[in-house]
C-alpha cells in the first residue's frame, strides 16, 4: 500500500496545475534554463534557447501526471502578453520611420513578392510531395508572426500545433539561412539583413535582428509587420480561390 505522505506528494503536480501559476513558473524556469544551456553550448544557431526550453517543458509535462492541455490552459495567461508585445513594436518602427519613408519605393516593390514567395515555396513543395489540405493550411502562414498566423491557420482549417512547430522551424531556418547567405552574397547592410529576417523569420528572426543591431531589429519589425498585414489580407482570398 502507498504511504499517505507519498500519495499526497503524488497529487501535488495535479494541485499545482489547477491554477496558471505552475505553467507560468515552469515556462519561466525553462526559459532561463534554456538561455543558460544555450550559452554553455556556445550559442549554436541550430539550437536556440527557445528550443531547449520547449524540450525541457515537454519532458517535465511527460514526467508529471498532468496533460499538455493543463499546461496550455495555464500558459495562455503568459501568451496574453503577446498582444502588448506586438503593440510595443511601434517603438522600433517609429524610430526607423525616417529610413522607411526614404525607402518606401523599394520596400513596396520587394516586400509583397517576398512575402508571397515565403508562403508559396513551402506550399508548392508540400503539395508536390502529397501533403493533405489541413497540412498545407498549417504551413501557409509559416513566415507570419504568431498572433496573425494563429488566426490565419484557424480560418484556413489547419492545425495550430503543427503551425507553431512550423513557425519555430521556419524561424530557425530563416536565421541560419540569412546569416549563411549574407556571408555568401557579401551582404553587410543591416537594413537588408533585418528586412530579410523579419519577412522570413517572423518574431524569432526579429529577436535575432535586435541582437545584430538596433537598426536591423527595427527593419525586421517592419518586415515582420508588413509581411503579417500583407499575408493576412492576401492569403485567405488566394486560399479560397485555389482550394
Amino acid at each position: 500500500m502507498t504511504p499517505p505522505l507519498f500519495a499526497s506528494l503524488a497529487k501535488l503536480p495535479t494541485l499545482w496545475f489547477q491554477t496558471p501559476i505552475a505553467s507560468i513558473a515552469l515556462t519561466l524556469a525553462a526559459y532561463f534554463l534554456g538561455v543558460r544551456v544555450f550559452k554553455l553550448l556556445g550559442r549554436p544557431n541550430w539550437c536556440p534557447a527557445m528550443l531547449i526550453a520547449a524540450l525541457f517543458i515537454a519532458a517535465v509535462i511527460a514526467l508529471l501526471p498532468v496533460g499538455i492541455d493543463d499546461y496550455k490552459t495555464g500558459a495562455a495567461w503568459l501568451m496574453l502578453l503577446l498582444g502588448p508585445a506586438t503593440v510595443a513594436l511601434a517603438v522600433p518602427l517609429y524610430q526607423q520611420l525616417g529610413q522607411i519613408r526614404a525607402l518606401w519605393k523599394p520596400i513596396v516593390m520587394t516586400l509583397p513578392l517576398s512575402a508571397t514567395l515565403a508562403a508559396c515555396y513551402a506550399l508548392v513543395i508540400a503539395w508536390a510531395m502529397g501533403a493533405p489540405l489541413n497540412v498545407l493550411a498549417s504551413l501557409a502562414p509559416k513566415s507570419v508572426t504568431s498572433p496573425i498566423a494563429l488566426s490565419l491557420t484557424e480560418e484556413l482549417g489547419g492545425s495550430t500545433a503543427l503551425l507553431m512547430g512550423s513557425l519555430m522551424l521556419t524561424g530557425l531556418t530563416a536565421i541560419f539561412a540569412v546569416e549563411w547567405l549574407c556571408r555568401l552574397m557579401a551582404i553587410r547592410d543591416h537594413r537588408l539583413i533585418g528586412l530579410a529576417l523579419g519577412i522570413n523569420g517572423h518574431a524569432l528572426g526579429t529577436v535575432r535582428a535586435f541582437e545584430i543591431s538596433h537598426q536591423a531589429g527595427a527593419f525586421a519589425s517592419l518586415g515582420m509587420s508588413l509581411t503579417g498585414v500583407f499575408t493576412a489580407i492576401v492569403l485567405p482570398v488566394a486560399w479560397h480561390l485555389l482550394f
Binding site: 496550455k72 503577446l82 498582444g83 510531395m129 509587420s225
Partner: protein, 124 residues
Amino acid sequence: MQVLRGFLWLLAGLLFGQSVVPWLPVALPAGVVGMLALTLVFALRGGIDADVAAVSQPLIGMLALLIMPGVVEIFFVAGRFADQAGAILVALLVGTLASVASTLWLLKQCLPAEPAARDVEEAT
C-alpha cells in the same frame, strides 16, 4: 511606475486594435492594428513616449518566451503527422531557404546602398 504607465499605453493600443478589428474587411490581429496606431500617435506627437520606451524593450526581448508555450504542443501531437513528416520538413527547410535567397536577392537589387554599411560579424 514608469513601466506600468508604459504598459497601460500598450494595453490602450491593444484595446483600440480590438475595437477597430471588427470593422476591418480582413481579419487582422488587434496587436498589429494597435502597433500601427501607436506608431501614428508617436508620429503625430513628434516623438516616443518615455514610459512606452521603458516597457517596450524588455517586452520585445520576451517575444521568444511568449511563443514558447505554443511550440511545446507539437512534441505531443507530432505522431499525428508522422506520415507527412518528410513533406513537412522538406517544405519548411527548402522552402524557407529558397524564400530567404529570393528575399535577399530582391532586396539587394532594389534597396539603394547605405552610405556606411557595417559588417554583420562586427555586431555578432
